[in-house]
């Protein structure tokens, strides 16, 4: 018999306990408080004490056109960006999945956009997008194409922001799919060779189906982050011109820290929270299905 001390006997509780307490205090309580605030009409600057108003703040928010538009934009941004990233990222991975001189260097280059500070990236793209001095309008003019207002024009601001997201996050999909490709078993390929399948058949019938779980997980994780996009949008446009590029996160930020309408901001946060959680449940469900 080995004698066990107190710590050893309760290791499974004591070891995770500090982390759990930390997450409860810094995440669970605050989220609960946000839910509570969503049922109040609290405005920090009014000086009035907070009043519980049931669903009044919800009604106000749902009637606010800025909110409805921001909600639609959140989905539009996520859908457009992630769709392109999925197709482009997978295609890049298929091109790069072979041995070649400089593959290690290539992988490092792919990582650079992922680790670059989003705010700084936003500023660099603002320089590209600048209508009068930007290199993009210069390129368009050299090609004889009409110039664009990019982020300064309400009509083009969303696609311009989506391009930045695509630039920054396509490599993420590529890296994950490359890792997935490296882990595929070779047996199906061998039998396909024996059967004389051509390379397109192999891609469509074998590679892509086997990669599906990896691609899906990567895409949903990416979508969860895209739904919460803040840094790029705020640093490039602050949600403008006008309100033309506000998504939920940016709008809720303004309601909280510029207008100090905590009650209504909390309502928006509840919506954002529910959307993100729905996607998260999806990713967990998928992980269970594919036993990842």
């Amino acid at each position: 018999m080995i004698r066990q001390g107190f710590v050893e006997k309760n290791l499974r509780i004591l070891f995770p306990l500090p982390a759990v307490i930390f997450v409860v205090i810094l995440m669970v309580f605050p989220v609960g408080y946000t839910f509570f605030l969503s049922f109040t009409d609290w405005t920090l600057t009014s000086g009035r004490p907070l009043q519980v108003v049931a669903l009044k703040s919800y009604l106000q928010v749902l009637k606010e056109p800025r909110f409805v538009q921001a909600l639609g934009r959140t989905f539009y941004f996520t859908f457009a960006a992630v769709l392109v990233e999925m197709v482009l990222g997978t295609a890049l991975a298929l091109v790069l999945h072979r041995n070649f001189v400089g593959k290690g260097l290539m992988k490092t280059l792919l990582l650079l956009p992922l680790v670059a500070t989003p705010v700084a990236i936003g500023i660099v793209f603002n320089l590209f997008y600048d209508p009068t001095i930007g290199i993009l309008n210069y390129t368009l003019s050299v090609l004889g194409l009409p110039q664009s207002g990019w982020v300064s024009d309400a009509a083009t601001v969303m696609p311009s922001l989506i391009i930045v997201d695509i630039w920054q996050w396509t490599p993420m999909i590529t890296i994950i799919v490359l890792a997935g490709l490296a882990g595929l078993s070779s047996e199906p390929y061998e039998s396909a060779m024996v059967d004389g399948a051509n390379s397109r058949q192999v891609l469509v019938r074998i590679t892509l189906p086997m990669l599906m779980p990896t691609i899906l997980t990567a895409v949903i994780l990416r979508a969860i982050d895209a739904l919460k996009t803040y840094d790029i949008i705020y640093s490039m446009t602050r949600g403008g011109p006008g309100y033309a590029s506000e998504n939920l996160n940016v709008l809720a930020f303004k309601y909280s820290f510029e207008y100090f309408r905590m009650g209504q901001s909390a309502v928006m946060l509840v919506f954002l929270f529910i959307i993100v959680m729905a996607f998260s449940l999806l990713v967990m469900r998928l992980r269970r299905i594919f036993e990842l």
């Binding site: 080995i2 050893e8 290791l11 499974r12 070891f15 995770p16 500090p18 759990v20 930390f22 997450v23 810094l26 995440m27 309580f29 605050p30 946000t34 091109v95 070649f100 400089g102 290539m106 992988k107 490092t108 280059l109 990582l111 650079l112 680790v115 670059a116 500070t117 989003p118 705010v119 700084a120 500023i123 660099v124 009068t132 001095i133 290199i135 210069y138 490599p171 890296i175 994950i176 890792a179 882990g183 990896t214 994780l221 919460k228 803040y230 705020y234 996160n249 930020f253 909280s256 820290f257 905590m262 901001s265 946060l269 954002l272 929270f273 993100v276 959680m277 998260s280 594919f290 990842l292």
Partner: protein
């Protein structure tokens, strides 16, 4: 044979076409950081110019970027170290006792929108007079780093054979000292992965620092952003600031490429 050469040529051509858009923003940023304002706003854009150091002088001498850099380093380093202290034992416990629910609970913090806790933090930290304090910033950044540590480390610990610890325990070690003295030293690569990733994400964080820090504890991303609020944007200085802020994350990534990839692909790829 000719066909082989042709395929190889086409392949490397494709590689170049992939590399150019990835690298161009970095190259342009670096070039612009050495340009005068006249060179930056010239039309057509200039690829050849006389480099000047003026922008870096402005960033470090006039704007006191060293102060913001110090803040960024303090916040990121302390947040990562505390997250390792909390996260490593938690990850170990999750791996050894298959605590699925616990792991989901901590990982939810990685998925949740940060702003849904930022607003309550703002209220509570202002009441506690902790606005513009390192402690509030570090706590907020720990919520970025801790889930990453658990996310990366629990599969890692899971893969280390149990026999190694058990051998140590037969020799009279307690389980906790077997964890500290046997398992942790063996987990160097995993810890490097977790540390690098969580450092980079904390270093790049904008929103938390934007709300919780003011002049005293302001971190680099906010300092760069504030550059833009001047009437006429001094592009050269802003680009120099962008170079300064991105350099550490990029250097880390180059050094630890394999670890960063491992960390980013954990959880999405089997094995």
């Amino acid at each position: 044979m000719n066909k082989k050469i042709l395929t190889a040529t086409l392949f490397y051509l494709a590689i170049v076409l992939i590399i150019i858009p990835i690298l161009f923003p970095f190259v342009w940023m670096l070039m612009s950081s050495f340009k005068t304002q006249v060179d930056i706003i010239s039309w057509p854009p200039r690829f050849v110019f006389t480099p000047v150091m003026r922008n870096y002088d402005r960033v470090f001498v006039e704007q006191d970027f060293l102060h913001y850099m110090k803040n960024s380093i303090i916040v990121s380093v302390v947040a990562v170290m505390c997250s390792l202290a909390l996260g490593l034992p938690a990850a170990y416990s999750i791996a050894r006792y298959k605590q699925k629910k616990l792991s989901v609970f901590i990982l939810v913090a990685r998925l949740m929108p940060g702003i849904s806790f930022l607003m309550p933090w703002y209220i509570v930290f202002s009441r506690m007079r902790l606005m513009d304090s390192y402690i509030a910033l570090i706590l907020s950044h720990m919520l970025i780093a801790l889930p990453l540590v658990v996310w990366v480390m629990s599969p890692y610990f899971d893969a280390v054979p149990r026999e190694l610890e058990e051998a140590g325990m037969v020799d009279g070690l307690t389980q906790q000292s077997a964890f500290l003295k046997i398992l942790l030293p063996l987990s160097g690569p995993g810890v490097v992965t977790a540390t690098t990733l969580s450092f980079i994400f904390s270093w790049n964080n904008f929103m938390f620092s934007q709300v919780l820090s003011q002049q005293k504890t302001r971190t680099l991303p906010i300092a760069v952003y504030n550059f833009l609020s001047y009437v006429e944007v001094d592009w050269g200085a802003v680009m120099a600031a962008a170079v300064v802020i991105m350099a550490p994350a990029i250097v880390l990534t180059m050094f630890f490429q394999k670890y960063v990839i491992k960390g980013l692909t954990t959880g999405a790829v089997k094995g």
